[in-house]
Symmetry: C2
């Protein structure tokens, strides 16, 4: 009889980063339970990508949780503020962008923690990246460490001596390193969506911060983005 | 012109504890924004109580957030497990009760954090109590402290040097102390609901842990519970 794999919850947005994390968690032997969120995004492209990716990569399960961040407003991704386009790397590095969603990763990790507890999983994976998203407070290593300390105190598992661990394997990687790692693991980046403001067809805008960071990642890795021909 | 009060987010379940916390936060001069959750409870009595309490106590706003904890299962409050009745105080103190909802306070505080950030509030109030609920990992002082450390790292406010503070003013109080404090502040406990398993009319069962703790609190405080005549 096969030894049962360790269960893990993997936050899967449908983007390049979280898809790479799913591949890394599977490489490390975890039976991955993927979790995505509908949170009042303007577009559903990334949810559809997440569903296709979870199916193609044979995740053990995929849950899509509805959360209404629009109840709070406060972000270009969830209310009517325009997504910034064609910003320079210097501008991107300054301060917290308007695309920041209040407390988003805290809410996502809280749901992941609930599911992990029910699954009796001890591991949660999240694709945050501190180099490319230095302006987001909840993408920093010290934030992930603080959530780990919280998780150890928040749950039955923690009380019983086997706390849930938060893994953020991309946190110190460049986008090029992420792309190379994913390609080596067979990730099909054609299935992913990174754009903050895609066309109704799903085509990336090519100009928002996420598109620019993705393009630079592929360029630095010396490979073509399979989505390249979709760019406007 | 009046000086503007400091805004706070107050988690309001509609029960005795959180209603007392709302009164305490108002006493301390906060402009209180109440937040409640529909999370697959078997009953909606407590949400209706929360709405009446927020209106009667003139909260600045009241938001009811839908969250689907049933997607994860794992608790008597959200799935089909029977609510335990007539347990002794000794039994209540042992281990984590089946009414524990996975990661519930972490999810609630995450939403409160998001709303606080949008409101530019620096204070969140939660009515957790470590003495009566010693079996719940997310009602302990060290859990609240860990969430406070997370909140300081998770948000724009924290990055900009004014972190959001988590207040749990009941954490070390007995139920009798809570009742006396609330009565001194004019809390109308007839509006509150504590029962885990109320009748369709809203009448408390009188036998679940929450009903027993409430009854003991009023008895120890030497006052009558205004809900007493509703008991079956």
């Amino acid at each position: 009889m096969a030894i049962e794999s360790k269960r893990a919850v993997v936050l899967l947005s449908g983007g390049l980063d979280s898809t790479t994390v799913l591949a890394m968690a599977q490489r490390d032997g975890f039976l991955c339970h993927a979790m995505s969120f509908r949170y009042g995004q303007r577009h559903h492209v990334e949810i559809e990508c997440a569903a296709r990716i979870a199916a193609r990569m044979k995740a053990a399960a995929h849950r899509i949780v509805d959360i209404d961040l629009r109840a709070f407003g406060g972000s270009a991704l969830t209310d009517g503020i325009a997504v910034p386009k064609n910003r320079s790397p210097q501008t991107m590095a300054e301060g917290i962008p308007v695309t920041y969603v209040p407390a988003r990763n805290t809410i996502f990790l809280s749901y992941a923690l609930a599911w992990a507890e029910v699954l009796d999983a001890r591991d949660i994976f999240i694709g945050v990246n501190a180099l490319d998203y230095s302006g987001y407070p909840d993408c920093r290593p010290e934030y992930i460490e603080a959530f780990g300390r919280l998780a150890a105190l928040a749950t039955k598992a923690g009380v019983e001596g086997a706390p849930i661990c938060i893994h953020a394997p991309l946190i110190e990687m460049t986008k090029a390193q992420i792309v190379r790692t994913g390609l080596a693991l067979g990730v099909e980046y054609a299935l992913t969506s990174s754009c903050y403001d895609p066309a109704p067809s799903g085509a990336p805008c090519g100009a928002c911060d996420a598109c620019q960071l993705r393009a630079k990642g592929f360029a630095d890795a010396g490979v073509d983005d399979p989505l390249r021909e979709m760019f406007a």
